[in-house]
Structures are given as structure tokens and as C-alpha cells.
């Protein structure tokens, strides 16, 4: 692991901060009394936990955008699919404590007068099955979609636009009540996870810690991928796709492998996100979310991994702050961020730091 991080100063700094936060926050939340100045409220714990999920998502996008050169405008779809898989498990956990008290069916199905659970809901009362689906479903979608797209060599902006169309189509589909995923309202009103109350401070801290651990693991996994032969190949594809093809490599397989892994990672991020925010609905599929994700990575700087995380945390935090303090200003700020970063900071914050360091 140390060998992996040898040339990765940013990664070392980031992981150190992450470890310190992961130790400090639970202690400050659970052990300190509320009047202590260092006390961290449960709200803040969940908020940071949410940001960490965003960071995992940004990491997954940086893998395909920064190292493979594919700008996916539909990565939010994989995130949302993972979230829905987790949400379905949490829905089943409610049991007969719903408004209608029906142990067999979630509330929205009772409301829609459904008689029995649709087949695709079976199995979701087991956490292991749900977790399997969290990676399998986004992975499968990415595989089929990627296979079709990469084999016919759809690249660049075309790929971006059809991924956007994909997430848009999924959003329209999930809005429909007939789909069996709660329609407009999505899945919410969760009670507990693995038998623990989802609202309890301890559960929240556990979810936060899980997010932090997964983020660290994901970072190391991504770092090992980009340092591996596959990573080198994917960078070669990014820089000169035709040349790699002419050298005899199978470009489609390289792209597919990285894309599918990235989608699975996005799914995991969604699965950690849903129990913390307590809701998943079709708006997660909206193209705006996916494109906001792209700007996180652009701001932080692509192709450095830790830059993506930095961008996700910084932009999400400013969003929380701005939408609270000056709701009118947020879209102006976000729009300006898009414009300024692409024109004046094409490599993002981390890229600019690296350039400065190399110059010195």
C-alpha cells in the first residue's frame, strides 16, 4: 500500500486527513457532551457522510474521465440505481410498520392497489442480495451500454450526449408509477437497517464510518488500477485511441473494464448515500445531477483521483452553504464556476498544484 502511494503526495495527504476525520467525528459526536465546543452534531455527521458518498461518486467519474478520456454525463444514473437497490432493501425492512401496516407490500404498492410484490422485488429483504444488486445492476447496465457504444466506437461528445439521454430516459421511466419503484416520491420513510434504528446517532456514525472506509478503499483500488497495466493502457487510449488499436490492443475491452468498474463504484456510493439522506427518488437521475458531478471533477482536477474528491467536497459544501445563505445566488455561482474553471483552470485545482510543484 505504501508502495502504491509512493508518488502520490496528494493521496497521502488526503488519506491522512480522512483517517483523522474518521477517528475524530465519531468520538466528538458520541462521547463529547453537546455543550462542548468540539461537539459534532448528528446532522453534521450525516452531512459529512453524504459528502463522502459524493466523493466516492466523483472518484468513479474521474476514473473514466480523467484516465480513459470518456466524459459520462450519465454517471448519476449508476449512482441512483445503486441507491434504488439499497432503498428497496430498506423498504422491505419497514415490514408492517408502514402507514397501511401491510407486512407484504410497501406503502406505495398498497396505495396503488397492487396485490403482490413484483418479481424484481424478491430477494431484497436480504442485505447480502441487495448489496450484490448494488454493484451488479449498475455494472450490468454499464456493460451492455458500454459494449454497444464502445464496439461501434462512439466517442467524445457523442458518447456524452447519449449517456445524458440514457439517464434522462431512466428518469422518465422511474417517474412512472407502473415501474414499481414508488414513482414520483421514490422510496422513503425508512425505519432501520440490519435491525438498527436508522435515525439513531450510533447508526449514523456507523454509516458515516462505513462511507469513510469505503472511500479510502475505493481510493486505493482506483490508485492500484491506474498504476496497473490496465491503467497505463487506458491512459494510452485517452491520449491516442487509434494508435493503441493499431498496436494490437483491444481498446473496447480496456474501455469496458474501466467503465464497468466505475459504474459499480458509483452504485456503491449511491447505496451508502440512501440510508444517510433517507430518500431516493427519480430526481437523482436528472441530467443536472450528473452534470454537477462532472463539474466537481473539473474543479478538483481530473486525472489525479484526489482532485476529484477535493472538488466533490468543496463544491458540495459551497452548495449547502450558498443554497442556505443566498438561494438566489447558487445557480449563478455554479454557472460561473462551469465557465471560469473550463476557461481559466482547465486542469482544475489539483492539476494546477501539480504543475506548480513540477515547475519548482
Amino acid at each position: 500500500m505504501l508502495k502504491l502511494l509512493k508518488n502520490d503526495l496528494g493521496g497521502r495527504v488526503f488519506l491522512t486527513i480522512l483517517v483523522l476525520t474518521t477517528v475524530f467525528v465519531p468520538v466528538a459526536n458520541l462521547l463529547l457532551p453537546p455543550d462542548n465546543p468540539l461537539y459534532v452534531s448528528s446532522y453534521t455527521v450525516t452531512l459529512i457522510g453524504k459528502y463522502l458518498c459524493y466523493a466516492i461518486l466523483a472518484l468513479s467519474l474521474d476514473l473514466v474521465w480523467g484516465y480513459l478520456g470518456i466524459m459520462s454525463l450519465g454517471h448519476g444514473a449508476f449512482f441512483a440505481l445503486g441507491g434504488y437497490a439499497m432503498g428497496m432493501y430498506l423498504m422491505r425492512q419497514i415490514g408492517d410498520r408502514g402507514v397501511y401496516g401491510n407486512a407484504e407490500l410497501p406503502d406505495f404498492m398498497v396505495f396503488l392497489n397492487w396485490d403482490s410484490l413484483p418479481w424484481f422485488w424478491s430477494g431484497f429483504d436480504q442485505l447480502w442480495f441487495a448489496l450484490l444488486m448494488v454493484v451488479l445492476i449498475p455494472g450490468l447496465l454499464a456493460f451492455v451500454f458500454g459494449l454497444l457504444a464502445f464496439r461501434s466506437r462512439v466517442t467524445g461528445v457523442y458518447f456524452s450526449i447519449i449517456t445524458q439521454a440514457l439517464t434522462y430516459a431512466l428518469m422518465l421511466a422511474f417517474f412512472r408509477n407502473e415501474m414499481g419503484f414508488g414513482g414520483n416520491n421514490g422510496l422513503t420513510d425508512f425505519k432501520d437497517i440490519l435491525g438498527f434504528n436508522i435515525q439513531a446517532a450510533e447508526t449514523r456514525v456507523a454509516l458515516f464510518t462505513a462511507s469513510a472506509v469505503v472511500l479510502a478503499a475505493a481510493y486505493l483500488a482506483c490508485r492500484s488500477i491506474v498504476s496497473s497495466r490496465l491503467g497505463v493502457l487506458s491512459m494510452a487510449v485517452r491520449d491516442a485511441e487509434s494508435r493503441v488499436r493499431f498496436l494490437g490492443y483491444n481498446v473496447t475491452n480496456v474501455k469496458l473494464a474501466v467503465f464497468v468498474f466505475s459504474a459499480m463504484l458509483a452504485g456503491v456510493a449511491g447505496a451508502l448515500y440512501v440510508p444517510q439522506v433517507g430518500i431516493i427518488n427519480p430526481s437523482e437521475f436528472s441530467p443536472l445531477k450528473s452534470i454537477e458531478l462532472v463539474i466537481w471533477v473539473a474543479v478538483g482536477g481530473r486525472g489525479t483521483l484526489y482532485g476529484a474528491i477535493l472538488g466533490a467536497l468543496a463544491v458540495s459544501y459551497s452548495k449547502t452553504w450558498l443554497t442556505g445563505a443566498f438561494p438566489e445566488v447558487w445557480l449563478f455561482a455554479l454557472g460561473a464556476l462551469f465557465i471560469l474553471v473550463t476557461i481559466y483552470l482547465p486542469k482544475g485545482v489539483s492539476g494546477s498544484i501539480e504543475t506548480l510543484r513540477k515547475r519548482r
Partner: protein
């Protein structure tokens, strides 16, 4: 993060709510009201001169004698009085019966004068029913309405229709026959037969014959084999109902099987025709949706197709065009039609200016970096949306349609085309033709094409590339503004107007083949028609998803679209 949810919800709502069909439905009742209004005006205009003549020559009691009889409480007697009023052939009778039907006829309690009542702020403004003189305004409790019940109202409708049969306006006559189709019998049929002899218009003659045939089919079905066969050429719903009643009549089946067979046969012919016209109508809806898509995408075909610039703010340029229309209408509220016509050049200019500003400020720095262009212009779109929210309001605004835009063109009783859709189709074709001409025939078009084919060579020939870039982008943006004017006539204008069209527009351009105006036209229309034909059996949302999935698959198979560019330009 919730704002995007609301965005898409409202977008979806808008799409599922076809405001045009509502407008069209209102219009049918409008036609009816107009017809009545027209009749009233005519009867007023003809005035006293005819009135005295009528008095002199008719043996039937005059209105002055008949009218007081309406004071009775019995509905049966009122029916008789109403019939007498209709028989009086007095020009005022139609207005009287209409008022009675609409509950606007009453009498002043004090002196029992029959009056027309019109609601005003404090009570009712009254006009004498016989002399048309104003009787001032009275409180509600000083006047009594001539009450009606369902049966009486039905009779009244029949009487009015019959009275209008002799109207000089052929549309009024047609309407009156149409209204008599379902109920006409006895006296009405005699009136129809009389009218048939003098009716100059062939269309109405046929319609009267249908009413007479229908009456026979209803009253003595076993002897009306010939009529049933004749009726197979008609599309009126009343004909279909009457034939369906016979086709399912069990006793008739036993006694006169050939009559039943004939009506089944006729029904089949009618149903075939109806489904044909329904398909035609769906095709028309598809064409109008397609022309909206083409209008939205054609500007993109310039900026994306010809220049290769991904402009995610294209939808917002459309929105700016719509808001220009809205603003102009606010500036001249009394001249809505003029404002709409003026807003076409105005929207072009405003959107083009915004477009050129975007090109100079943002896109110019990003040529050759398409993905970054996409991101930066997306930022522009967010800023423009928020700008509109701040300047106008986050709420949707409705832009009014001038009267000459709303209305229907009725081909037959099954197929009627709404005028605003027809106009949009025509408008789309005009815009397309103008743009096509500009790109392929004009000097600036030549420069645009030269730059897009070989930038270096074009510059060497003395074309000022960066100026042409700016103008081209301005042109594409201006066309988006014009699309906004058209869209403002179809949906409400709001900050999210553009978002709904951006993905569709890109797909239309990509589907048609980048850099090809014809491709955009063909793909827009075919996508519009395809989704309208899918809608009936899958629902609007599923149809949209199906079209999206189809295009995603299509692009993977044919990455350069329906009409790929060939030759050197294709490699650029």
C-alpha cells in the same frame, strides 16, 4: 438539490398536458356560440321594418300576444308557448328562445314585462324583450327568471335549430341541421324537407338528406334498407349510433336479418373511414410535434452541425425568444397579434445578441475542446435560467394567442385540424427554407461552409474566420429565438422551457446527421410522427423513452446519423 426535482416535475406536467387540444375543444363551443351570436345580430339588424311586415301577413298570433303566456308555471304550457313563438316566424324569436334556454329571460315582478337579464355588479341589467329598450338595472329579487327544465330545454334546442334552418348564413344553417340529426322527427322533418327544396348549398342538402334518412332508420328500421346503405358514406357520430343500435337489435335480427346485415356492413365501412381519419389526425399531430422539434433543433444544426460547437445553452436561447414574445405582449397588451409578429424579428435579434455574446465571451476560448465547451455552455445555461428567474419570476407565464392563430379547420366531423398547429408547421417550413437558402445560396453562407470545411484554407482566401464564427453562432442562436416565439404559442413560458428541448434537439441533430440541414428536417419530422403513433398504445412517457432508446441504439449502429457527411469534411 430539490430544485431539479421540481424542474423535471413541471416539465413532465407540461408535456403530459396538451394545452392545444384543450384550446381546440373550447373552440368547438366557441363556434357554436358565434353562430348563435351571429343569428342574434342578424335578427337585431333586420329590426322593425321586417317586424311590421311579418305582423301584417301572418295569421298566427304575434309575439306581443304570445309572450305574456310564458308567465305560466306549467312546463307543458311553456313548451306550447315556445312552439308558438317559433311558429310566429318573427325575427326576434330566435333570440327569445336562446335567452330562455340560457336562463336569461325573465320578467319584472311589478309590471310583468318580459326582459333579457344580464348580470352586472349590483343586480341585473335589463332590456325589454320586445322593443330592445333598456329598462335599467334592478336588484335580483325584483325580477323573476322564466324557469326551464330538461325536457323544455331539449324542445327549445330543437326549436332554435329549426328556426335557424332558414337563416341566410350557410354556416348557421349547417349547424342547425347538425343539431337536429339526433332528434329530428315529425314537424322538424317536414321543416327539413321544405328546406331541402330551397337549399342552395350541396353540402347542406346532403346533410338534410342524412337527417331525413336517419329519422326513417330510427322510426321504421325494417323498411329502411336503402337508407342504411346510403348512410355508410357519412361520418357523423349520430349516424354511427343509430346504425349501431340497429346492428345490436335482437328482435330486428329475427324479423329482418338483411336490414341488420346491411347496418353491420355500413358500420364496418364507417369504422374503416373513421380509423383512417384518426390515423391522418395522428399523422398531423406528429407533423406538428415534428415541426416543433425541427424548429428547436435547426439552430443547433448550425451551431453544432456546421460549427461543431456543443451549445448546451441552446435551450435557454429558445427560452429567451419566448420571453421576448412575452415582454412584447406586455408592452402592447392591446395589439397581441402585432406583438407576436414583431416578436419574430425581435426574438431573432435578442437571441442572436446573446449568442454572439456567448461566442465572444466563452466559446471562442474553447475551440477544439468540445467537452470543455459542453461544460462551459452548460454553465451559461444555468446563469441564463437564474437570470430569468430573478428578472421575471420563477413562475410560468402564459403568452396569449391572437384570434387568427386559434381556431380549427374542420375537414369533416371526425378530422379537424387546429390552426395553431397548422401555422407552426408552415412556420417551420418557412424558417427552414430561409435558413437553407441563406446557407447554400448567400455569400455569408458560402463563408460559413468554407470555414467549416477547411478553416486554414478559408482564411488563406481572405475570409475573416473569427468574425464568421461569431455571425454563424449568432445565426444559430437567432433561429433558436424564433423557435421560442413558436413555442410560446404552444406551452407556457418559464425558466425551464429550454431544458426540456435540449436533449431532444441534440438527438434530432445527431439522428439526422451532423452538418446536414435536410437530415435535421427529416429526422425531426420522423421522430415527431413516430412518437405520436407510439403514444396511443404506450402512453406519452413510454413513447418518449422508446424514442430515446431507439436513437441511442441507432447512433451506436450508425454513428454519423441518417445522412452522414461524405468526403473530406467527414473526417474533420
Amino acid at each position: 438539490m430539490t430544485e431539479s426535482l421540481d424542474t423535471y416535475k413541471s416539465q413532465r406536467l407540461k408535456e403530459e398536458n396538451p394545452s392545444n387540444s384543450i384550446r381546440a375543444m373550447n373552440f368547438k363551443s366557441l363556434i357554436y356560440k358565434w353562430a348563435v351570436f351571429f343569428a342574434m345580430i342578424l335578427s337585431l339588424l333586420s329590426g322593425f321594418g321586417i317586424f311590421t311586415e311579418a305582423l301584417a301577413e301572418s295569421a298566427t298570433p304575434s309575439l306581443e300576444e304570445t309572450l305574456p303566456d310564458l308567465l305560466t308555471k306549467s312546463f307543458k304550457e311553456k313548451t306550447l308557448v315556445a312552439e308558438r313563438i317559433a311558429e310566429s316566424a318573427d325575427p326576434r324569436s330566435v333570440k327569445l328562445l336562446e335567452a330562455m334556454l340560457n336562463g336569461k329571460l325573465g320578467y319584472i315582478k311589478e309590471n310583468k314585462t318580459m326582459v333579457y337579464m344580464n348580470k352586472v355588479d349590483k343586480g341585473l341589467s335589463l332590456t325589454d324583450a320586445l322593443t330592445d329598450q333598456s329598462k335599467g338595472t334592478l336588484k335580483k329579487n325584483e325580477v323573476k327568471k322564466v324557469a326551464t327544465n330538461n325536457k323544455l330545454r331539449k324542445t327549445l334546442r330543437g326549436l332554435i335549430a329549426r328556426a335557424q334552418l332558414a337563416n341566410t348564413d350557410s354556416t348557421v344553417r349547417k349547424q342547425s341541421v347538425l343539431r337536429m340529426l339526433e332528434t329530428a322527427d315529425g314537424v322538424a322533418i317536414t321543416a327539413l324537407k321544405n328546406q331541402l327544396e330551397t337549399e342552395p348549398k350541396k353540402e347542406i342538402q346532403e346533410l338534410i338528406q342524412v337527417a331525413i334518412d336517419l329519422n326513417k332508420v330510427r322510426s321504421e328500421p325494417h323498411q329502411s334498407l336503402h337508407e342504411i346503405q346510403n348512410l355508410s358514406s357519412r361520418l357523423e357520430p349520430e349516424v354511427r349510433n343509430a346504425l349501431a343500435a340497429i346492428a345490436s337489435n335482437e328482435t330486428l335480427k329475427a324479423s329482418d336479418p338483411d336490414v341488420v346485415d346491411a347496418s353491420v356492413k355500413s358500420l364496418k365501412i364507417i369504422d374503416g373511414k373513421v380509423s383512417f381519419y384518426k390515423k391522418l389526425e395522428t399523422g398531423f399531430f406528429g407533423l406538428s410535434l415534428g415541426s416543433v422539434l425541427v424548429l428547436a433543433a435547426i439552430g443547433l444544426a448550425i451551431t453544432f452541425g456546421v460549427m461543431g460547437v456543443i451549445n448546451m445553452a441552446h435551450g435557454e436561447l429558445i427560452m429567451i425568444g419566448s420571453y421576448t414574445t412575452y415582454t412584447l405582449q406586455q408592452l402592447m397588451p392591446s395589439q397581441i397579434g402585432l406583438a407576436l409578429v414583431l416578436s419574430i424579428p425581435a426574438a431573432f435579434i435578442v437571441s442572436a445578441l446573446f449568442g454572439m455574446l456567448i461566442e465572444r465571451g466563452v466559446i471562442r476560448h474553447l475551440y477544439g475542446r468540445p467537452l470543455e465547451t459542453l461544460l462551459a455552455t452548460f454553465g451559461v445555461s444555468l446563469v441564463l435560467q437564474q437570470l430569468v428567474r430573478t428578472v421575471y419570476s420563477p413562475l410560468n407565464r402564459s403568452v396569449e394567442s391572437p384570434s387568427w392563430l386559434s381556431g380549427t379547420l374542420e375537414i369533416n366531423s371526425v378530422l379537424s385540424l387546429t390552426l395553431n398547429r397548422l401555422y407552426i408547421i408552415a412556420f417551420c417550413l418557412v424558417v427552414f427554407a430561409a435558413l437553407y437558402f441563406l446557407i447554400n445560396r448567400s455569400n455569408i453562407g458560402l463563408h460559413v461552409r468554407a470555414i467549416s470545411q477547411n478553416r486554414q484554407m478559408a482564411r488563406a482566401m481572405g475570409i475573416r474566420a473569427s468574425r464568421v464564427d461569431m455571425l454563424t453562432f449568432g445565426l444559430g442562436s437567432g433561429i433558436a429565438g424564433i423557435a421560442g416565439v413558436a413555442l410560446s404559442q404552444l406551452t407556457n413560458v418559464g425558466p425551464n422551457l429550454g431544458q426540456g428541448y435540449i436533449i431532444d434537439s441534440f438527438l434530432v441533430v445527431v439522428f439526422g446527421g451532423v452538418g446536414n440541414l435536410w437530415g435535421t428536417l427529416v429526422s425531426g419530422f420522423s421522430l415527431g410522427i413516430a412518437s405520436k403513433f407510439l403514444e396511443p398504445w404506450s402512453g406519452a412517457v413510454l413513447a418518449k423513452i422508446a424514442v430515446l432508446v431507439f436513437i441511442i441504439l441507432f447512433i451506436q449502429k450508425y454513428p454519423s446519423g441518417l445522412f452522414p457527411q461524405r468526403g473530406r469534411a467527414a473526417e474533420g
